[in-house]
Symmetry: D2
């Protein structure tokens, strides 16, 4: 019974690359993790063990280092990713599609007595800037995003009026803690718009909306954040969110003889709600 | 500028459920982690903060516990997942699609002097059995799988004859270590075929092929494993693999004055190759 | 052959507690993880299965919530930990020693148009504030610390003049990247000195020294940081550091036909150096 | 104000080493992670930045590979660790103490139709074999151990008769699930006794006791396991355990209209009990 390959891709993951850019004494720093995947006409590799069209994944890793070395300045991850994707398409005829995913880990320049230090930084753990590029010889899709940005508000969040069935025991509340770890991905209409400035603007709009929104549910706030971004940034054509509801469960301290002041909570990661949505303009 | 929601889903993740089935002294044990996601006509939740169609994710969690309690025996995860999906569709008119993902953590019954112990087990860390169910009122898709099954062979694996460009420095080899962590997902033509016996058969076929295949590349072995499963199990309609190439880099001990016996390697997780493919019958 | 118990402790780990303090509209937030361990005369629990002296670990968890509810303000973790330890000693005669370890996860208040928001925060992932308290009826030891504070400097770090034996191939360098994740623990001469202000001062002194020190090795900078803290804060009697050397390996881009501008590095976590030292006044 | 260094150590962590031993067609495999730490008279490194006594941690890593290459067979981790420690003491006069920690990841040889395969293995995730060696020029301490061995029994475990104070709400039970992840460390009276056979025997004794013990508490079973090991293995002089109580909380399914058959549980990692004890002969 003959079989066939209906989809394939291969590449290198977790390629770590740090770049230092020096302008006199002042250094800039970029720390990224790159994932490269190629799709193409690779039946012979799979069925015959014939590697004559197979670019080694080790070479893909080297290519990331080589192309990074070709520019002196720190480069937007979207721009670097597109250069990488274009290189693999140009140099490898059997390749029909290249996917590049880049995660950028942020740093904050240290301050010494109010002055920015020229070459010392603290790393911003958690939050990351991301991009996903899918390029064929005909078209290019560029998405930018952020992930692991944990935010919390201690009031102005409710959850009530929901469906009650025989398995529903959740009390309604007009005042709960709302904690989530924002993952957002958006598509620029034009990949050239993918700049740090725009990224920072989208990020701030998400934070502002989270902080000030009168939330009836995670979905409600997700929608408000998407609406705010789409209304503020014409360059953004579409945005999607993945928002875990990191529950902070009120502890009933009256059991322990203490007055209930809505002060003590038990945060928990497991289980958690997960709310996802994608928005665009009508 | 009006916006719209083009996709949405919400639910509960990381619902942990352990079930004990007792038949006289002999106990059976099942430990699963469930993810539930509902899609539907939920515009009012998002745009108006109107939760009247919103089933709380806490209720979804309770439903998993309730439905598990309705059966005495340990149940195949595919069957349990389908019951859960059907419940949410039946009881919630606005829901149009339910996704259920279940991960099952395996256990090995302890042996005491050659006799299986009635109620004590060791946990099999790593390898997991999985299922993904997507159900609408019209159709049901059931996938079964395994993940985190780490395998290694110390010979009978080569990688040579590949593309060399200016960034290629990888030496060709006719004998290398081949280590991967198998993730495989397959679709049964008929969800009723999803039994532990079939799962065990697919798993063993993957292991047998990995062990005995004369590998020219990870792709080559991926293809052989898929071919073997499709040829041996008519119930399987399609299978896909995700295979990280966990590199074991030869250490050049001649630098240290020792003879090179191809004995010493440095395993590394970062970076790693990643080879993926999906196969079906012609 | 009789056996004996020469050491024992038991308790509750990973007790997660979030506290919200409200002063009008302005909220404060504290998120901590508590570990409690009791030592004492518990031979009968172990040898006889007699639990009459055994305080359940579930009760220890409840006690953490109850005692947290007794104060309205956010409390220093050292002060809260000492209250907890004292409670267990006072209420449980068989207990001879209580250990409390607390990790505090930091938050940054969001800014809206330059104004601090009353109740919205971003979480500072990575860096944590810690305390370890060991209390008997006779004495109390309080240590404060920080951990997972990742710092990097892109110059002003050398490593040369070291021992060369037959296994040494590391090149000497007068200019390398220095990256570490600082874990520091210090003992206050008087536990009452354990305030956020002092903690912030110690932290800043560590950062300032890291940034400005002309480093000959990780050890050299560790020593400079310890010296600076001991010289600046008489309240600190002793300080110890655990500093992984997170290697950023220069990539030889000349192999790829690119000019070497010392710009491209490969950060790696595995293997890593680990440098530890404890300092006090002479 | 002068300061001094009262303790220091430095070395290399997470050195990963895989060794393949070939006897004809049949291969043996060993996968270990090594941590090396040196203590000594290193004041000048710290205070003066003088590295003339500093053996680079990169050299320590190379030494692990070199010494592993000197033997053809797979070596007990205790024996390999002692060779490493001895090397650093012999070759480095300023070093006064060497600590070597090794974790060994196990593999299971694959079976093909009932026959052991000569060169293919599955990796045993989770459980690890460990050793900790501390060597000075005067004495050597060798500890062996196992960790991350998760075990569970679904009955024959009780917890009752405990202290009740005002914060105690835990119900007494004469039948609960007992799940833990065993970490055990033991000291051989003579390091030469540290063989795989003995290790396997200690491991099996721990499992047998866990399975058959009529447990009144985690402490009670810890003590029984220690007693069994000390009684069965004269070569073991002392043993300590660290046993998290991985709670499996009964779900009250009567709330959902289902009969309570003590079948449905919610396992949770956070918070968890932690019970530790060390035992020796009287």
């Amino acid at each position: 019974m003959p079989v066939k390959l209906i989809k394939n891709n291969y590449g290198k993951s977790r390629v770590r690359l740090m770049k230092v850019s020096r302008e006199g004494d002042r250094h800039e720093l970029q720390n990224i993790t790159v994932k490269i995947a190629l799709e193409g006409d690779f039946d012979d590799i799979h069925f015959k063990g014939d590697n004559s069209k197979c670019l080694p994944t080790d070479t893909m890793k080297n290519t990331a280092y080589a192309l990074a070395a070709q520019t002196d300045e720190i480069e937007e991850i979207e721009s670097f990713g597109m250069r990488l994707a274009r290189h693999f398409l140009n140099e490898n005829e059997p390749v029909v599609c290249v996917s590049i995913d880049i995660v950028e880990h942020g740093y904050t320049r240290m301050m010494m007595d109010g002055t920015p230090h020229p070459h010392s930084f603290t790393k911003n753990e958690g939050e990351k800037r991301t991009t996903s590029i899918v390029m064929t010889r005909d078209e290019t899709s560029v998405e930018s995003g952020l992930e692991d940005l944990t935010v919390i508000k201690t009031t102005q969040s409710a959850f009530a009026g929901f469906v009650k069935d025989k398995y529903t025991f959740l009390p309604e509340t007009d005042d709960r803690i709302f904690c989530t770890s924002v993952k957002a991905i958006w598509r620029y209409n034009d990949p050239q718009d993918a700049t740090k400035e725009l990224w920072t603007g989208v990020r701030q709009t998400i934070l502002d909306t989270f902080a000030t929104h009168d939330s009836m549910s995670v979905q409600h706030t997700l929608c408000a954040m998407g609406e705010a971004v789409l209304n503020s940034f014409p360059a953004v054509g579409e945005i999607s969110f993945s928002l875990p509801n990191i529950h902070c469960i009120p502890v009933d301290v009256t059991r322990f003889g203490e007055e209930d002041k809505k002060a003590i909570f038990m945060p928990t990661d497991e289980p958690h709600g997960l709310i996802e949505g994608r928005m665009t303009r009508s």
